[in-house]
Amino acid sequence: MRLLESDSLVLHSFDYRETSRIVRIATRDAGVLSVIARGARRPKSPFGSAIDLFTSGVAHVRVNPARDLHTLTGFDATRSRSELAGSLARFTAASAVAELCLRFANEDDSGRVHDAATSVLDAIGVATPDDVPAIALAGAWRVVAELGFAPSLDQCATCHADLVADEPVTFDHRAGGALCARCARLGPRGRLFPAEARETLRAWLDGTESALGDSSTRRAHQRLLREFLEEHLADGKPLRAFATWEAQSFSHAPAEHA
């Protein structure tokens, strides 16, 4: 049993039994942890509203080395993110980023996922609905890059031949990135990856901003990221928040009634 005190971000939180909540947090020092907040649902709980979704704070955790569920003994909230509830675009995008961290970052103890996720959520929180998709996609790829899974874009993922920057290539999730024409012919299962999309993705992985064009470009990028995540997770479990985010992106405009 060891005590951990770490800057943390609440990624998911759900009721457990009559009075408790289970919270999944990205910590700076121990990766993503599942912790139980006992009594958190009681009216006079010491946790108050501190462990609400997407809240940052200092978590005090009693780590149980023999189990996957640890005990949250306290959470000093430093920043709540009510602005993420401000629109469906923000809320679903933030949830998709949280899901990505939850599913990928279990082993990360470098703090990079915590830091990247925190800055992505802050950026989504101030974005206009039109800007949310590009900011969320950029942030999601940055998390992927921080974890060391960045796809290969300038060299063939299979034979490592240099790729010409302004030519369309094939993107093959299983191979781990873009393929040269020769390798693409050998294993015909990738999808066409236009030079412009490659340019955008390169900028996102480098941490620079790059806006998205029309809605079909945006949808193509969402699909590319989803397929990439599914390939890497390979556990067959659906990415539910991601699916909601994709569905939201092209529907649910305010109702029109005369």
Partner: protein, 196 residues
Amino acid sequence: MSAIEDLVTELSRLPTIGKKSALRLTYHLLKQPPEQSRRLAQVLGTLTERVRLCERCFNLTEEQPCTICKDPRRDAATICVVEEASDIAAVERTGEYRGVYHVLGGRLSPLDGIGPDELTVTALVQRVGAGGIREVIVATNPKLEGEATALYVQEQLSSLGVLVSRIALGMPVGGDLEYADGVTIAQAIASRRQMR
């Protein structure tokens, strides 16, 4: 599987009931006169047969529409939107609210697979769009998910020319500023009201 194991499995699916409690309940039932267990089985059967969702408000009911929707003394022009049917009981306990309800069937929670299509928001928009509604009070829970749900509902209703209000959030009655957390105090200040 044995009959005992079957019941233990089914009981431990219930909220707050672990394997140990399920086993205890099972042995308790076996010690009672068989008539009591038969009665329980019968009541459970009737429950699932009779209880349906109200076609208008999605409350749980045995009649269509539910007793609240049907009650002529209630103000049908005011709708209180709640997450779950069980929340209706909480509001009804106050004895203060005289309007009708709309049950969303949950709150937005993409991480749990709940998006707008999993809730009854479209039905609410149709209900309000049909006319005769003055005010919609959004009483989802004061958590981020409840807040996101409230704002989504408001956005969906925005073009219908109906007053949409949100229940006040903040300090609990009997609470103490000194012991409240920062988020609660901030919400209490944001939803302050003018004093007369």
